[in-house]
Symmetry: C2
Subunit: 192 residues, 2 copies
Amino acid sequence: MPPPTSDRRSEILEHSKALLRTRGFNAFSHRDLATLVGVKSSSVHYYFPSKEDIGLALMAAYRQEILSLLASLEHRPVPERLEQFASVFASAASSGDQWCVAGMLASDYATLGEDLQAELRRFFDAVEAWLATQAQLIRPGLSAPAALQLGKASMALLEGSLLLARCQQEPQRVSHAAKALKALMGVGPFSG
Amino acid sequence: MPPPTSDRRSEILEHSKALLRTRGFNAFSHRDLATLVGVKSSSVHYYFPSKEDIGLALMAAYRQEILSLLASLEHRPVPERLEQFASVFASAASSGDQWCVAGMLASDYATLGEDLQAELRRFFDAVEAWLATQAQLIRPGLSAPAALQLGKASMALLEGSLLLARCQQEPQRVSHAAKALKALMGVGPFSG
DNA sequence: GTCTATAAGTAGATAGAC
DNA sequence: GTCTATCTACTTATAGAC
């Protein structure tokens, strides 16, 4: 296994993240990364033997990043938690031409290896469970299945908004979606 | 220009559509298509000189298909229109491993040529405008900008649901999203 | 009009140099 | 431990055969 804290490795990962988020998993190569950091493409294979390894490393870091954020919101009021969560997507949209790591990988789902597919599913399961919990805190009468559906719809709304914000060059779509998210969560006859 | 009504051309387009929807624009090639229809990859270049041409043909057909559907709903009640529209996405999800043409191309946006990017934007503009019109029919007091925001959020919800339905292997997500769509459209304090 | 031979460049990966 | 020479297969595209 390559050194987990190598500077070069981190540098490659950073570039991988940017390329994944702008172009997609199937539209960048070891060669692109090699050019960016100034080595030969085969050097990149030392740090990441297969392309799947790059995807797995990116997802592991992203999962850590997002779940840490959610954990850090524990002592905030629920509406603020949702705002903070949505702001992660809003800041991704503000970068102009980037989607989020998980959303982009989800779009490339059919071309990923089994391990990466499983990691991606686990990520969405965790985030949607968290959203379901927030929904139940807002509306205590909500059944667990209904809350989970609400969590899934919320995630879909945010991912879709970021996708279209990028395509339509309207970063503000994501913050508008955050408002729609609260509308979905807080009110209306949403029945499981 | 190649013959617009060639059988071979249509056959290639059909396979292109399926490959685009499952794998994405950057994960299939003229070669894949050639194998599927039983010719050499260079033959496919006769019908579609560049890959961008395949994307443009797919979008043109898809745009036609969806806008025709929307037009055909003119004499139906508004809630039924929304159901019919959502059912397009639901049937895409039921195919198991496919996203929709426009959603997938949106995910590959940064790698597309300018013409295809423009075509994609025009498509979403048209559909979202239609959704905004439906929103104003349901809620006559809604301002035009607020209605448009609602249309954009609705589209985001459906695209995101289909993306995640595919990834999480839960086709029913899209029909659940259709319910959430009506909740968004029909009720709640959604303010621009 | 339809299709193929051919080619320049790229993707992903291996074996091995330093 | 770090990196490169090298390889096979693939991608896109052109020129030209039938």
